[in-house]
């Protein structure tokens, strides 16, 4: 399979009061052509930041990429200028954000907002562009597309707005769609509609999707492969079936165990003790060690390396690493 995106040891930091705060501490994963990769993890672990780093959308923040590489279609994005990135954004990669309420400009008509990337990236004249807008709107299942273009975002429901966001992202046929928690703000019944739509569009267009979520249910429904993030790193990467069947990293295990499942009838959920560490105050060694029930001495001292488990599986845990060593020893 062909890799569309390869993120390698990506490091991203913010500067606050002249102090550098590294949030992404070496993120690595890849996305193949036509595949949906799920990026899961708890709040604050750096999921959104990973996606913003890929697009290099740091304007207005102190964020910057301080290490690693992002290779998109064989080209390293980390060295691209803002001008070059603008050609890529919206055309080759597009993004959908979590909040459909605030991600659309409240004072611009829907049509105008949709027209922008089309006029910018596609060589279409005014009329063709407008037709394209209608076409795209119909494609994402918007009824009354011809009228909707003259309306403002607040006149639409949350689900409709998210459809508009999807339409906007799809309008220039990007190869990569980054969807950052596209359904978190929506009700379950609407979430079901949106997920259904995304699945269908992804299949039709053969697009690659980076789906960011913290909902394991959504991951199980949507993704081909999954990367699990914890404290600014990918701790486990696997095929979706393998991940749910035999999670390797204690964090992944804990995560799956924490979710109540309908029909499961557990009296008590397994839970991960403690809290997510604060980026300014990271523990030494494995960042998960203080919360890990199986932590060993080495875990508190040194960070584990990514171990290739074959079959595209990857995991960073001393238990695996040590276990391997023992096997080979």
């Amino acid at each position: 399979m062909e890799k569309l995106l390869q993120v390698n040891q990506l490091e991203t930091q913010f500067t606050k009061d002249k102090q550098k705060l590294k949030i992404l501490r070496g993120v690595s994963f890849h996305i193949n052509k036509g595949e949906v990769l799920g990026l899961v993890g708890e709040s604050g672990c750096g999921k959104s930041l990973t996606s913003l780093s890929i697009m290099k959308l740091f304007k207005g923040t102190s964020g910057e990429i301080s290490g690693g590489s992002i290779s998109f279609k064989g080209e390293d994005l980390t060295h691209k200028t803002e001008r070059e990135m603008r050609k890529i954004r919206g055309k080759q990669m597009a993004m959908i954000f979590q909040e459909p309420m605030t991600s659309l400009n409240p004072v611009m008509k829907i049509g105008e907002q949709l027209l922008e990337p089309i006029r910018l990236h596609l060589a279409l004249n005014e009329k063709q562009a407008k037709e394209h807008v209608i076409f795209i709107l119909k494609k994402v299942g918007i009824p009354r597309a011809e009228e909707i273009v003259y309306e403002f975002p607040h006149q639409l429901s949350g689900g409709m707005r998210q459809r508009i966001m999807i339409a906007m992202a799809m309008s220039c046929n990007p190869q990569l769609l980054i969807a950052d928690e596209p359904t978190t703000a929506l009700d379950v019944t609407i979430q079901a509609q949106i997920l259904e739509l995304m699945k269908q569009l992804q299949r039709e267009e053969g697009m690659s999707v980076l789906l960011i979520t913290h909902d394991l249910g959504v991951v199980a429904e949507m993704c081909d492969r999954v990367a699990v993030m914890y404290a600014g790193r990918v701790v486990e990467e696997a095929n979706v079936f393998d991940l749910f069947e035999s999670p390797q990293h204690p964090y992944t295990k804990g995560l799956i165990g924490s979710v109540p499942k309908i029909g499961q009838r557990k009296d008590k959920l397994t839970s991960i003790k403690g809290n997510v560490p604060d980026p300014g105050n990271m523990p030494k060694g494995c960042k998960f060690a203080p919360r890990c029930n199986e932590a060993m001495a080495i875990c508190l001292e040194e960070e584990p390396h990514a171990t290739d488990l074959g079959n595209g599986r990857m995991c960073s845990c001393w238990m695996i690493e040590e276990g391997r060593k023992n096997v080979y020893a």
């Binding site: 708890e42 709040s43 429901s157 689900g159 409709m160 009700d187 379950v188 019944t189 609407i190 979430q191 079901a192 509609q193 997920l195 259904e196 913290h214 909902d215 394991l216 249910g217 959504v218 991951v219 199980a220 429904e221 993704c223 979706v240 079936f241 749910f244 804990g254 995560l255 799956i256 165990g257 924490s258 979710v259 109540p260 499942k261 309908i262 029909g263 557990k266 009296d267 008590k268 959920l269 397994t270 839970s271 991960i272 003790k273 809290n275 997510v276």
Partner: protein, 322 residues
């Protein structure tokens, strides 16, 4: 037979929306004829989509709002139209836990003050006594005495929610209304809090009114469930019935919409078409008919009555039941 702690019947609440520059005032029926009861020591959950009136129902019961119609009986006392001055006793018995652990704690108060606030309001205990009780409560919810002199924003979301729970428990209330207490939390923290709530229930024989939009959480914690749609309860009953044998098309759709964290269980879902109608202009007849996959003619005009379903305490409001 366990005693019924809370009983509400025919509860209604409408809000008046201010008119715009060129428009008239309109009324919004947030809660429209809701009835249920909760027995001592059990958990009753309200589920439904955003805006269906779950929180409003909770606020009516805690009398943060005054119902337009209907009765609220708590511990044998009818409180639906009581004045603020007459509510003090009720306020002792009923405590609330809120969704947003960041917003529900006053950022300018120390944890000690926050937890002790009900004591200050309702009792004349000395400062030392209050401090003692606060420390005790902190232990109960899994925090320590050291935390008492800090401000709430120094804590993580899960810890804050524990503080909120401590505050709710300190008056030894009979009923706790928990409005989406875990929706803002990460799954790993969510499970800690759910476990805590369950433990506390056994320990103190608490009664919960649990409000949530997350069906899996609801299934985990409740004994009985009410499914709400646009201000009404469309189906209610013991959790087993609701989850294993739902009768109302909305309940069925809701259940099928929940993504299951198991890739092998990918299935055909019932995807409801369209959006939730506005409560300002609810559809005529059955409120669900605009999105119902099994809509009949009668549904458009006649409001379905609440009928007994599969069990004694199972009720459904749907014409399909006829």
């Amino acid at each position: 037979m366990p005693e019924t702690l809370l009983k509400i019947s025919g509860l209604k609440k409408s809000f008046t929306l201010p008119g715009g520059m060129f428009s008239k005032k309109r009324s919004l029926k947030a809660v429209h004829d809701v009835s249920f009861g909760i027995e001592q020591g059990t958990t009753y959950s309200l589920v439904g989509e955003s805006g269906c009136g779950k929180s409003t129902t909770g606020r009516l019961i805690s009398r943060l709002l005054t119902p337009s119609h209907g009765e609220i009986w708590i511990d044998g006392e009818e409180i639906s139209q009581k004045k603020e001055s007459q509510l003090k006793l009720v306020r002792k018995k009923v405590q609330m836990i809120f969704q947003d652990p960041y917003a529900s704690l006053n950022p300018r108060m120390k944890v000690r003050e926050i937890i002790a606030e009900p004591l200050v309001i309702h009792t004349k205990r000395s400062k030392a006594e209050r401090n003692h009780l606060v420390s005790e409560m902190l232990e109960v919810v899994g925090l320590t005495e050291h935390h008492a002199d800090r401000y709430a924003h120094e804590f993580s979301g899960g810890q804050r929610q524990r503080i909120g729970i401590a505050r709710a428990l300190i008056m030894k209330p009979k009923l706790i209304i928990a409005d989406e207490p875990v929706s803002a939390l990460d799954v790993s923290i969510q499970s800690q809090i759910l476990n805590l709530l369950k433990d506390l229930q056994t320990e103190f024989n608490l009664t919960y009114l649990f409000i949530s939009h997350d069906l899996s959480v609801v299934e985990h914690i409740s004994d009985n469930i009410g499914v709400m749609y646009l201000g009404t309860i469309v189906e209610s009953g013991p959790k087993d019935v609701i989850f294993s044998n739902p009768q109302h098309p909305y309940t069925k759709a809701l259940l099928s919409s929940v993504p299951v964290p198991d890739p092998r269980l990918r299935r055909e879902r019932i995807v409801l078409q369209g959006d939730l109608p506005s409560p300002v202009n609810p559809p005529s007849g059955c409120r669900f008919h605009t999105r119902c996959p099994a809509c009949m003619d009668i549904c458009r005009t006649v409001e379905p009555e609440v009928k007994k379903g599969l069990a004694d305490d199972h009720f459904v409001a749907c014409h399909l039941m006829d």
